[in-house]
Amino acid sequence: MIVTFYIAGTLAIAASLGTVLARDPLRAALSLVLCLLSLAVLYVTLSAHFVAAIQIIVYAGAIMVFFVLVIMMLDPGERKAGGSRLLWAVLGLAVSGVLLALLLEPISVIPEYGGEVSRGFGTTEAIGGAVFRHYVLPFEVLSGLLLAAMIGTVILARKKERGEGVA
């Protein structure tokens, strides 16, 4: 367990850095896939089986595929770094660093939690119970959101017709 955590964790961090620092969007996307998979492993260690499955199927399997598809389609050219990149890099690092510090500080003082989970924790049945008992409204709104997203995507990505401006 412990070992799994550390391996998966390290992999996740490494992959995330790979995403952020990659030169090429394709490589970044693939790194992110790796990161997502590590996270799925971590979910399993956390007894969140359903979420792990969803992560792989939806996130890594559908969203990232979509990303890669778009990357392939657009084929943006290589970009050379500009002069002001340094300033931005420094600023970004600074902000991220401070953010990390601010986030870590309370984490270090939380009390210890522990204990075994009950049987059936994290199963599909359990998720279903939580969602359909406590979060029915968000669930329904979510379907509306997905509908809107579908419609939006279709319109936005349409090929331009005569007389239409940028969608």
């Binding site: 412990i2 955590f5 961090i13 995330s16 850095l17 952020v20 990659a22 969007p25 970044a28 996307a29 992110l32 990161c35 996270l39 971590l42 979910y43 956390l46 007894s47 969140a48 359903f50 979420v51 969803i54 992560q55 939806v58 969203i63 990303f67 778009v70 657009l74 943006p76 970009r79 500009g82 931005w88 970004g92 690092l93 902000v95 991220s96 660093g97 953010l99 990390l100 870590l104 984490i107 939380i110 210890e112 939690y113 522990g114 204990g115 924790f121 994290g122 359990a126 998720i127 119970g129 939580a130 969602v131 406590h134 979510l142 997905l146 579908m150 995507t153 936005l156 990505a157 940028v166």
Partner: protein, 100 residues
Amino acid sequence: MIGLSHYLILAAMLFAVGTLGVLTRRNILIIFLSIELMLNAVNLAFVSASRFLHNMDGQAIAFFVIAVAAAEAAVGLSILIAIYRARGTLNVDEVNIMRW
């Protein structure tokens, strides 16, 4: 023992890395990917909290986050396609038409 704090520290680090990517990179696609990274970091936090506090709500929320992330990615990428078609570039600096 691996406790809640371990997982939360990991989540925090992933989140920080994602922020770094958003603020630093110029390519819109990579910025998008960094945003997804941040979302995942949050998911990790929720799920780990759910496990250690013995409450299914965290996982339910993670479920919703994934669904919303899907919708957002779809729409966002369509916009990106539209921008690419209009501007011919995916560099944030170059799609800016405001005078400085």
